[in-house]
């Protein structure tokens, strides 16, 4: 019997406390959090009131070292394939084409020897672990502070950073073929002339590097066929291709090449556009050798892009 009355007492007091608490929140709802970022000294000061922001209209400033969408400064990329290898979810796809000679230098002075026919990052798959940015030897692959990049089409989550046109790709490939054929012929001739000297491999330059290049493109298509998960990707690619076809048809008609370079065609991504904007003020030839990291430059552009 005693517990009976205690129950009632406890119920009344706890119900009253609950009502008081929620009523206090209703009253406090007349003040709202301001869209101030972590950097602001008053960030933690507001403890009461409405905590949500009306997101697309207001947003909290992201710190400059925010690590969200990836960006590749393709001019600085030496196409070493490290990022693709380390990526735990395999969302970076690179299609390299060896150049016959050095094709230029990155901003930190590393020499570039490989063209990137394709450098795609599927942001839909990326888990934002940042491993790719840490392994990148030239620090061209960085994470930017752009975090709002939702799309209507899943295929649009694939960001293409390679800038080569299909024509260029074909040209480089042919060049490489010609070069390889010449070299083979040279090697054959060498073999015929001095077969005994061949074994150390001095004649063929960097034999170890070449297979590495070939392995990837060969392995990729196999994966696509094996994994059922890649069906979706294949579909997405299909959609992308259709879109691109339409876009290409209207923009520039290159119907001759299309069947050959199916997989390399990617939708024009926001980043590419951004980059174009970014590149315009900086004339390509007068590029400073020690350029600031793109990450530091991005914020302004992206902030504008958000708006």
């Amino acid at each position: 019997m005693n517990t009976y009355w205690l129950n009632i007492k406890y119920a009344v007091s706890s119900l009253y406390t609950g009502l008081k608490l929620s009523f206090r929140h209703i009253l406090e709802a007349n003040e709202s959090r301001k869209p101030i970022g972590m950097a602001d000294t008053t960030y933690f000061q507001q403890q009461t009131g409405i905590v949500t922001l009306q997101y697309p209209h207001q947003s909290i400033a992201v710190p400059d070292n925010g690590r969200y969408r990836l960006h590749n400064e393709i001019d600085d990329c030496i196409v070493c394939d490290k990022c693709a290898k380390i990526c735990p979810v395999n969302c970076i796809e690179i299609e390299p084409i060896r150049a016959v000679e050095e094709i230029g230098k990155t901003s930190d002075g590393t020499s570039k020897r490989i063209y990137a026919a394709k450098f795609d990052i599927d942001m839909g798959k990326c888990c934002f672990c940042g491993l790719c940015t840490t392994v990148c030897p030239t620090e061209c692959l960085t994470m930017t502070k752009a975090y709002d990049f939702s799309e209507y089409d899943v295929a649009d989550h694939n960001y293409a950073f390679a800038e080569m046109t299909p024509l260029e790709i074909l040209e480089k490939k042919q060049k490489l073929e010609v070069f390889a054929r010449e070299k083979e012929a040279k090697a054959a001739a060498l073999k015929a002339n001095a077969p005994k000297e061949d074994t150390p491999g001095a004649g063929i330059p960097k034999p170890s590097f070449k297979p590495k290049l070939n392995v990837r493109p060969v392995a990729k298509p196999l994966n696509i066929e094996e994994k059922p998960a890649d069906d979706a990707k294949a579909m997405a690619l299909e959609i992308m291709r259709k879109k691109n076809d339409a876009a290409n048809r209207s923009a520039q008609a290159k119907p001759v090449f299309r069947p050959l370079i199916k997989s390399t065609e990617t939708p024009p991504s926001i980043d590419q556009e951004e980059k174009k904007e970014e590149k315009d003020p900086v004339p390509a030839p007068s590029k400073p050798i020690f350029r600031p990291r793109p990450m530091m430059k991005k914020p302004k552009d992206e902030g504008e892009a958000e708006k």
Binding site: I8, L19, S22, I26, A29, G49, I50, V51, T52
Partner: protein
């Protein structure tokens, strides 16, 4: 007689804004903003939702009992709306002046169960059936404390006529032609022995909750039981989104779902009206006459006059709407009860308390003579 011409559009408009208010109240309690996009401060959000609902396909599950499934929402809404028939709206404008008004409302509330059972059974889904069974068990149980707490009021008022009960709670007590045996004057706390007559003071002092101070407890019991009758949190076991995916209306979509929602909010309004009429002075003003400052008369016109209609409607509707807001406030404060807690609360706490109150009301009534 024609109050339904007012209540039908009022119910629709009220529901639209009540859903909006519910979302805002819940948002503020949870430190959120709630709907903000459609219209100024999100005011048109419910209208947009309603338009969407009306466009949706009216899906009838293949395994459902088609006839019952289609009829159930209509039954539920009809029953709830029928409840509004006996409500007085102002001092000169009442619905059906049936002398069994209170009794009729109780019957109507119990009829609601039938519609819920039809929906739950007709859906032929285990969630819907569970929801319906819970609803029935809950509503039947809570009808007892609800009925007993209403009976307390009836005992003091000595009538089942809602308009008569309303007249007794204000300064216009003499304006209703009535039959002998009813009170003709009010005293402070209903106690004649105190010798303070409040018949002409009116205001909050003549509300039932003041005429019989213990009615404060009766009102709380009534309010708890009415929450359970409306299947509102913390008694929303029949709907229990987190376990029954909506309970008896799980399988409904589009227009029929909107109808069920409409009846749920209609039921909230109905019990709020009933609570306001029975305990909170109906359409009487809360402001008392104080000497020459005749606040009560200034804020309520005499029965039948235009001012009487306007003030009466204003006071009654605002009281009911405030009670609806309190229901929302409670819903977003308390967690849902477990089934055994629900039954324990009803049978072990509310029913004994209301039985004792009933006895005390009888005693009090003797003191009022």
């Amino acid at each position: 007689m024609t109050t339904f011409l007012f209540f039908l559009p009022f119910l629709l408009v009220y529901t639209v804004f009540a859903v909006y208010a519910e979302r805002k109240v819940s948002a503020f309690i949870q430190d959120r903003l709630g709907p903000m996009e459609a219209g100024y401060y999100g005011i048109a959000q419910t209208v947009a939702d309603l338009l969407k609902l009306l466009q949706k396909e009216d899906i009838v599950p293949a395994a459902a009992d088609r006839k019952l499934f289609l009829a159930a929402p209509i039954v539920i809404f009809t029953v709830v709306f029928a409840g509004f028939a006996v409500l007085p709206l102002t001092s000169g404008y009442a619905g059906s002046t049936a002398e069994v008004g209170v009794f009729y409302l109780l019957a109507i509330i119990s009829l609601d169960v039938i519609g819920i059972l039809m929906a739950g059974w007709g859906s032929n889904s285990k969630y819907a059936l569970f929801g319906a069974l819970r609803a029935v068990a809950q509503i039947i149980s809570y009808e007892i404390p609800l009925g007993l707490s209403i009976l307390c009021v009836v005992m003091i008022s000595q009538t089942l006529d809602l308009q008569e009960i309303s007249f007794q709670q204000g300064i216009w007590i003499h304006d209703k032609p009535t039959y002998p045996g009813l009170l003709q004057e009010n005293y402070l706390f209903g106690l004649k022995a105190l010798g303070i007559e409040t018949t002409h003071i009116g205001g909050i002092l003549t509300w039932n909750i003041f005429r019989m101070p213990l009615f404060f407890i009766a009102f709380i019991i009534f309010f708890i039981a009415s929450l359970a009758e409306c299947n509102r949190a913390p008694f929303d076991l029949p709907e229990a989104e987190s376990e029954l995916i909506g309970g008896f209306h799980t399988e409904y979509s589009g227009f029929r779902w909107a109808l069920i929602m409409l009846s749920e909010y209609g039921m909230m309004l109905l019990v709020s009206f009933l609570g306001a009429i029975l305990f909170l002075g109906s359409w009487n003003t809360p402001l008392p006459n104080m000497g020459v400052v005749k606040l009560a008369e200034w804020t309520s016109g005499s029965p039948g006059s235009v001012a009487g209609h306007l003030w009466g409607g204003f006071w009654l509707i605002s009281k009911a709407l405030i009670l609806v807001l309190v229901q929302m406030w409670i819903r977003w404060t308390y967690p849902r009860l477990r089934v055994d807690q629900l039954m324990a609360l009803c049978w072990k706490y509310l029913i004994p308390a209301s039985l004792i109150l009933l006895l005390l009301s009888g005693v009090w009534r003797l003191l009022m003579i």
